[in-house]
């Protein structure tokens, strides 16, 4: 499988929405 690893996730806010079955990304999430 392809795996989106944690180096590439840096500073993105990564959202997990189980009930809606979706994953989201927002730039500049840490600041």
């Amino acid at each position: 499988v392809s795996i989106f690893g944690n180096v590439q996730q840096k500073t993105l806010e990564v959202f997990y929405d189980g009930p809606a079955g979706k994953v989201g990304f927002a730039s500049g999430g840490c600041s």
Partner: protein, 419 residues
């Protein structure tokens, strides 16, 4: 970062490395009725209390990459051997032998949060892991073995809120799907066992305890593993906070409060901080892609394309769909199908051709020597996911920097197209 245009970042070469002191995020961690936030730090950076006094050695870059490869192998193994098949019963407490028919994943998972456990509560730093289901910590009396951890080892006998789970309980039986290993039974108490892909493992009593995230958000009777035989690469942390999709994960156990919604931000370097939030956050700037059905155990993600320097690479959609994809908080380096990685590497090398290349670092084969540069220009890299979502990687996510003379593109190819 000095400058940015549509297609590249210009950065100071020195910014590729963490500073020696911790700089906390400027983001205010606000808590309210709907959400609770914890600070996230890198296990081995200056923001981590596990790193103070440096009594526990950090792994080398090569060790980190080797551990990461073990983690990826165990993910592949788990996908090809779903954990519902059961297996031989486990030898517990009196032995270190547990079945290795598949592997849970640990590798170099390296971001930690601090939670409170028990009554009175004891602070414990746990690795948070979206590919683990069970939350566990080392417990006294460490009947067989405990590895070195920075904080005091949790002692259930000193907590008024600890309870053992009985072997006859249905929740004990459900350990098979969450751990890949059928439960054991000692003196009528349920025993869990988890073996990780790199050979690390934890075995102990399955119990319930009060877990406190913040002074206003505490949960009674959270199922967790109280480890009596713990060995492996946990880097001084007290255990794992399992954020996977199984019904025993912390996310599922707190669904009544947070509805299985959580988010996190991993900091740009080990000398800064991020956060882990349970419950609804502000998502107005977020782009969403559907969770794919690659596996019930992982958060599946459908990759559809890659752009480098503003140009979308010519990669057939079938290259990504052949094996599927997932997102993982614990895998360090993004893995791509061989054809996708080749295209990314070729384009990146072309746009970076003004810089001298140097020797490979373990699984990373595109490395540069920036010794003679004070600033560098780095092409932007973007990922496309199903639903037309494009996510630009931050410049901190492009390289894995070992030293100024060996800074490597932080992507790797899988061995086979079907991996």
């Amino acid at each position: 970062k000095i400058a940015e245009n549509h297609h590249s970042h210009t950065i100071e070469a020195s910014s590729l490395f963490p500073s020696t002191s911790c700089k906390s995020s400027t983001k205010i961690l606000s808590n309210n009725d709907n959400k609770t936030s914890l600070k996230v730090v890198h296990k081995h950076g200056p923001c981590s209390k596990l790193n103070q006094e440096k009594t526990i050695a950090a792994p080398t870059d090569t060790e980190i990459l080797l551990q990461d490869q073990s983690r990826v192998k165990s993910i592949h193994s788990r996908l090809s051997n779903p954990k519902t098949s059961g297996g031989n019963d486990v030898k517990v407490i009196d032995s270190t032998t547990i079945p290795a028919k598949d592997g849970n994943v640990i590798g170099s998972a390296s971001y930690i949060v601090t939670v409170g456990l028990g009554t009175p509560q004891k602070e414990l730093s746990l690795i948070f892991d979206t590919a683990s289901d069970i939350t566990w910590t080392q417990c006294k009396p460490c009947a067989i073995s405990c590895y070195d951890q920075k904080e005091q080892i949790f002692d259930p006998s000193q907590s008024t809120s600890y309870t053992n789970i009985s072997c006859s309980s249905s929740i004990c039986s459900s350990l098979t799907s969450a751990t890949g290993t059928p439960p054991g039974c000692v003196s009528s108490t349920c025993v869990y066992a988890i073996q990780y892909g790199d050979g690390s493992f934890t075995i102990g009593f399955f119990g319930t305890e009060k877990l406190t995230l913040t002074p206003t958000d505490a949960f009674n009777n959270i199922y967790f593993g109280c480890g009596q035989n713990n060995q492996g690469l946990f880097g001084g942390s007290a255990g794992i906070l399992g954020l996977g999709r199984d019904k025993l994960s912390f996310v599922s156990q707190t669904a009544h409060k947070y509805n299985k919604i959580f988010s996190y931000c991993l900091p740009s370097s080990s000398s800064s901080t991020g956060f882990l939030t349970f419950g609804c956050s502000d998502t107005k700037n977020a782009k969403f892609t559907p969770l794919s059905t690659i596996s019930a155990g992982f958060y599946g993600l459908d990759f559809t394309g890659i752009s480098v320097g503003g140009t979308k690479l010519a990669i057939s959609a079938s290259v990504f769909s052949t094996a599927g994809g997932l997102i993982d908080s614990g895998t360090v380096i993004t893995r791509l199908p061989p054809a996708a990685y080749s295209a990314l590497r070729a384009s990146f090398r072309k746009l970076m051709s003004k810089y001298p290349m140097t020797k490979a670092l373990s699984i990373l084969d595109t490395c540069y020597d920036f010794s003679n540069y004070s600033t560098i220009s780095v092409p932007k890299i973007g990922f496309f996911f199903s639903g037309g979502v494009e996510v630009d990687i931050d410049v901190s996510g492009v390289f894995f920097a070992s030293s100024i003379s060996q800074v490597c593109l932080a992507f790797a190819g899988n061995k086979n197209a079907t991996d």
